[in-house]
C-alpha cells in the first residue's frame, strides 16, 4: 500500500516528467513531503501564476507536457490565468492542485475553492480525484488528454485525504482508451484529393500557417509541401518559426500587425490553404473581406474549428503532419505560379517592414541586433504589447519552438515565467524574454526564482514608460488621450541588483550590442533596461474592424 501522494509522484515520473513548477501550502503538504527526497525535480516559483506559465513555456519549447502544482484556494486560483493562457493556445499542461479533504468539500472550508468548477471552461478536461486508488489512472489519462489530439491543459484536483489515503498498486493499461475521446488523426482521402484538385486549378495559392503546425511538429512537411508546389506561406503569431524567416516563400506574419505583403497576398489569393489555424479576429480583420477571392482548404485536427468563422470549401480534419504527408504522397507536379510569385516579390521589395533610422533608441533596432547576434541559437519568449509585435516582426526566427508568446489570451506577465520554463526545455541555448516595462512588472517577483536558482534567463525590457500598445490605440483612436497608460520610470537594473542579478541600462544604439553580449557572457540571469523612444508605434496596423489590406503606417501603394 502506498499513499496517494507517493502514487502521484511515481505517476508523474512514469509519464516522463523532468520538472514541476510549484508552490506549497496546507493541503499539498503530503505531496511536498513526497517531493522532499524524490528524483522528480521541483522548482519553487514566487507566485503560482508563474508556475502555470513556466509549465506552459516548458511545454511550448519542448513539445512535452508541462506540469505545475499549487495548493488549494488561493494557490489554485492563482493558476487560473496561466491555465486559460494555455487553453487558448492549445498547449499541453497538467495542473495539479490540492483540495480540502473530501468530507469538507462544499463547506467553505479554509482555503476551499471549487477549482474544477472554476476551470471548467478553460481546461480540456479536469478531475476531482476521490480516492488514492484513482490517482495513477487519472494522471495517466490527464497526460494522454493534455498531449494528444488538439493539446490543452488538464487539471487534477486532489483532496488532502486522497494524498494521505492508502491504495494498492493499480495495473495501468499500456495505452489509454477513453470512449468519449478519439481524435481524428488521419485526413479523409477523398477530401485530400479534392484539395489537390483545387490546388491544381489555383493560380494564386497561399498557405496560412498557424500554431497547429508547431504543435504537430509539421514544419518539415510544410516546407516540403510549400516548396514542391511553389506556394507562399504566411504565418500567424503562433505559427512563426514553422518556416525560416529568410525563406523566399515566407511572407511573415499576417493580420493586425502583419506585413503589408502578407496581407496583400491574403486579399488577392485565389486559394487559401489554412493549416492548423483558426481564423482569429486579430488575423482576419473584418471577416467578410478576408481572402475575398479565395476558395478555402482548412486542415485542422479540431472539427469544431472548421467553418467556425469562415465558410470552408474543402475541410480536412486530421493531424496536420499526417495530412501534409498524405498531400505530398498524392500530389502531382504543380505549376510554378510564376506570375503570382513575381507579384509577391515585388510587394516584398516595395513594402518591407520599416525600421526607423532617426536618432534615438528604436525597439526595432534592439530586436534586429539581438536577432543578428544569436541567429538561430536562442529561444525567444515575449511578453504582451508592442514588445511582442516588434519581436514577432523584426526577429528572424529559423526554427519551430524557438518563439514563445501568449497569442490567444494575450497575457501580460506570461513571458518571464514562460522563459523560465523554456530554459528547462532547452538548456542548450540561451533563453531571452523580450518584455515591456508594464508586463515585466506583472511577474517581476520571479527575479527571485531565477536569482536563487541561477537560471540564465536574459531579461530584455523595452522600457517606454508606457503601457505602450494601449497608448498607441489611445494616440490613434482616442485623440491622444493617454488615460492611465503612463508608467513612472522604474530602474529595472536596481531591482535586479536587489535580487542579486546583474544588469545594464541602455540608452544609446551603440550600447545595444555590448549589452546583449554582456548578457551572454554572464552565466546567470541578466537584466537589460532599454530606454527606447517612448512613443514609437507598431506599424503597419489594421485598425479594428477594417479589412486587412487597409493598413495604416505602411508604404504608399
Amino acid at each position: 500500500m502506498k499513499t496517494g501522494a507517493k502514487i502521484l509522484v511515481e505517476s508523474l515520473l512514469r509519464e516522463g516528467t523532468e520538472i514541476i513548477f510549484g508552490y506549497p501550502g496546507g493541503v499539498v503538504l503530503p505531496i511536498y513531503d513526497e517531493l522532499y527526497d524524490s528524483p522528480l525535480r521541483h522548482l519553487l516559483v514566487r507566485h503560482e501564476q508563474a508556475a502555470a506559465h513556466a509549465a506552459d513555456g516548458y511545454a511550448r519549447a519542448s513539445g512535452r507536457v508541462g506540469v505545475c502544482l499549487a495548493t488549494s484556494g488561493p494557490g489554485a486560483c492563482n493558476l487560473v490565468t496561466g491555465i486559460a493562457t494555455s487553453y487558448m493556445d492549445s498547449t499541453p499542461v497538467v495542473a495539479i492542485t490540492g483540495q480540502v479533504p473530501t468530507n469538507l468539500l462544499g463547506n467553505d472550508a479554509f482555503q476551499e475553492s471549487d477549482i474544477t468548477g472554476i476551470t471548467l471552461p478553460i481546461t480540456k478536461h479536469n478531475y476531482l480525484v476521490k480516492s488514492a486508488g484513482d490517482v495513477s489512472r487519472v494522471v495517466q489519462e490527464a497526460f494522454y488528454i493534455a498531449g494528444t489530439g488538439r493539446p490543452g491543459p488538464v487539471l487534477i484536483d486532489i483532496p488532502k485525504d486522497v494524498s494521505t489515503g492508502l491504495a494498492a498498486e493499480v495495473k495501468l493499461p499500456d495505452k489509454v482508451t477513453l470512449r468519449g475521446y478519439n481524435p481524428t488523426y488521419k485526413g479523409h482521402k477523398r477530401q485530400i484529393e479534392k484539395a489537390l484538385e483545387l490546388l491544381g486549378h489555383a493560380e494564386r495559392p497561399l498557405i496560412y500557417a498557424g500554431g497547429g503546425i508547431i504543435s504537430s511538429n509539421a514544419s518539415p512537411e510544410l516546407m516540403e509541401f510549400a516548396t514542391l508546389a511553389s506556394i507562399p506561406v504566411t504565418t500567424t503569431l503562433m505559427g512563426i518559426g514553422c518556416i525560416p524567416c529568410h525563406h523566399p516563400l515566407n511572407l511573415g506574419m499576417l493580420g493586425m500587425h502583419g506585413t503589408e505583403y502578407a496581407n496583400f497576398a491574403v486579399t488577392e489569393c485565389d486559394l487559401m490553404i489554412a493549416i492548423g489555424a483558426r481564423f482569429d479576429d486579430r488575423v482576419t480583420g473584418r471577416i467578410e473581406t478576408f481572402a475575398p477571392h479565395a476558395k478555402i482548404i482548412h486542415i485542422d485536427i479540431d472539427p469544431a474549428e472548421i467553418g467556425k468563422n469562415r465558410r470552408v470549401d474543402v475541410p480536412i480534419v486530421g493531424d496536420v503532419k499526417g495530412v501534409l504527408k498524405d498531400l505530398l504522397a498524392l500530389m502531382k507536379k504543380q505549376g510554378a505560379h510564376e506570375v503570382w510569385l513575381k507579384k509577391i516579390k515585388h510587394w516584398k521589395q516595395h513594402h518591407p517592414l520599416k525600421c526607423p533610422t532617426t536618432d534615438g533608441l528604436h525597439p526595432q533596432f534592439v530586436i534586429r541586433t539581438l536577432s543578428e547576434l544569436v541567429k538561430d541559437k536562442a529561444v525567444i519568449v515575449s511578453e504582451v504589447g508592442q514588445n511582442q509585435m516588434w519581436t514577432a516582426q523584426h526577429f528572424c526566427f529559423h526554427n519551430p519552438r524557438t518563439w514563445i508568446t501568449s497569442g490567444g489570451l494575450g497575457t501580460m506577465g506570461f513571458g518571464f515565467p514562460a522563459a523560465i520554463g523554456a530554459h528547462f526545455a532547452r538548456p542548450d541555448v540561451p533563453t531571452f524574454v523580450i518584455a515591456g516595462d508594464g508586463s515585466i512588472q506583472m511577474n517581476i517577483q520571479e527575479m527571485g526564482t531565477v536569482a536563487a536558482n541561477k537560471i540564465p534567463v536574459k531579461i530584455a525590457i523595452l522600457n517606454n514608460m508606457y503601457l505602450g500598445m494601449v497608448r498607441q490605440w489611445q494616440e490613434l483612436f482616442f485623440d491622444h488621450r493617454y488615460s492611465f497608460t503612463e508608467l513612472p520610470p522604474v530602474d529595472f537594473v536596481k531591482i535586479g541588483q536587489a535580487y542579486g542579478i546583474e544588469g545594464m541600462q541602455v540608452n544609446r544604439p551603440e550600447d545595444v550590442l555590448p549589452a546583449f553580449q554582456a548578457s551572454l557572457d554572464c552565466d546567470g540571469p541578466f537584466v537589460m533596461d532599454f530606454r527606447i523612444e517612448r512613443e514609437e508605434n507598431v506599424f503597419p496596423m489594421v485598425p479594428a474592424g477594417a479589412a486587412i489590406n487597409e493598413m495604416i503606417g505602411g508604404h504608399p501603394r
Binding site: 468548477g117 471548467l120 471552461p121 480540456k124 468519449g180 475521446y181 472539427p303
Partner: protein, 167 residues
C-alpha cells in the same frame, strides 16, 4: 432561429451536466428544456436538451459538446423523424360544481388523467408534445392553475435508427 432537440449520450459522472450546460450558457443560449436520466447502457445517461438558436450556432455547440471527454455522442434530432414527449402535472383550482366537471371533460379530450383529487383542487397528468401541453395549460388557466410542473422534452428517433455508440 428555431428549436433544436439535442440528444446527448454522456458518461454518468459528477459534473457532466455542468460541462454540458456551460457550453450553452457561455454562448448566451437559453435552454428551453432539459431532461436527464439513465439509459440503456449501464454507467451512461442520456440528456435531451431543447434550445432555440440559429443553425450555425447550434452546430458549433454540438461540435464543442463532442469535444468534451465525458460526452459519447451528440445528435440533433430536429431534422429527423422522431417521437417527442413531455409529461406535465397541473394542479388546478376545482371547487365542487360546474368547473370541476368542465375540467374533467377537458382532461378527457386531452387524454390527461386525474392523479389527485382534493376538495379544492385536481391534479392532471398529461403526456404529449410541448404544444399539446401548452394548449392544455392555457385552457385550464380560466379555472386557476395553482402549480404547473413539466419534465422537459425527451425524444427518440422513429424506426430502428438509434443515437448511441462510439464517436
Amino acid at each position: 432561429m428555431k428549436p433544436h432537440t439535442l440528444s446527448i449520450l454522456v458518461e454518468n459522472k459528477a459534473g457532466v451536466l455542468s460541462r454540458v450546460t456551460g457550453l450553452f450558457s457561455r454562448r448566451g443560449f437559453n435552454i428551453e428544456s432539459l431532461a436527464v436520466g439513465p439509459c440503456e447502457e449501464p454507467g451512461m445517461s442520456r440528456i435531451t436538451i431543447v434550445v432555440i438558436g440559429d443553425d450555425a450556432k447550434v452546430e458549433q455547440v454540438m461540435k464543442q459538446l463532442n469535444k468534451l471527454i465525458d460526452i459519447i455522442k451528440v445528435s440533433d434530432l430536429t431534422e429527423n423523424e422522431r417521437v417527442e414527449r413531455e409529461l406535465a402535472l397541473i394542479k388546478v383550482t376545482a371547487e365542487q360544481g360546474t368547473s370541476r366537471a368542465e375540467i374533467m371533460q377537458i382532461a378527457t379530450i386531452f387524454r390527461a388523467s386525474i392523479v389527485d383529487v382534493s376538495p379544492k383542487s385536481l391534479v392532471l397528468q398529461v403526456i404529449g408534445e410541448t404544444d399539446k401541453i401548452d394548449a392544455l395549460e392555457k385552457l385550464l388557466r380560466q379555472y386557476g392553475v395553482k402549480e404547473f410542473v413539466r419534465t422537459g422534452t425527451i425524444g427518440i428517433l422513429r424506426g430502428s435508427k438509434i443515437v448511441s455508440g462510439g464517436k
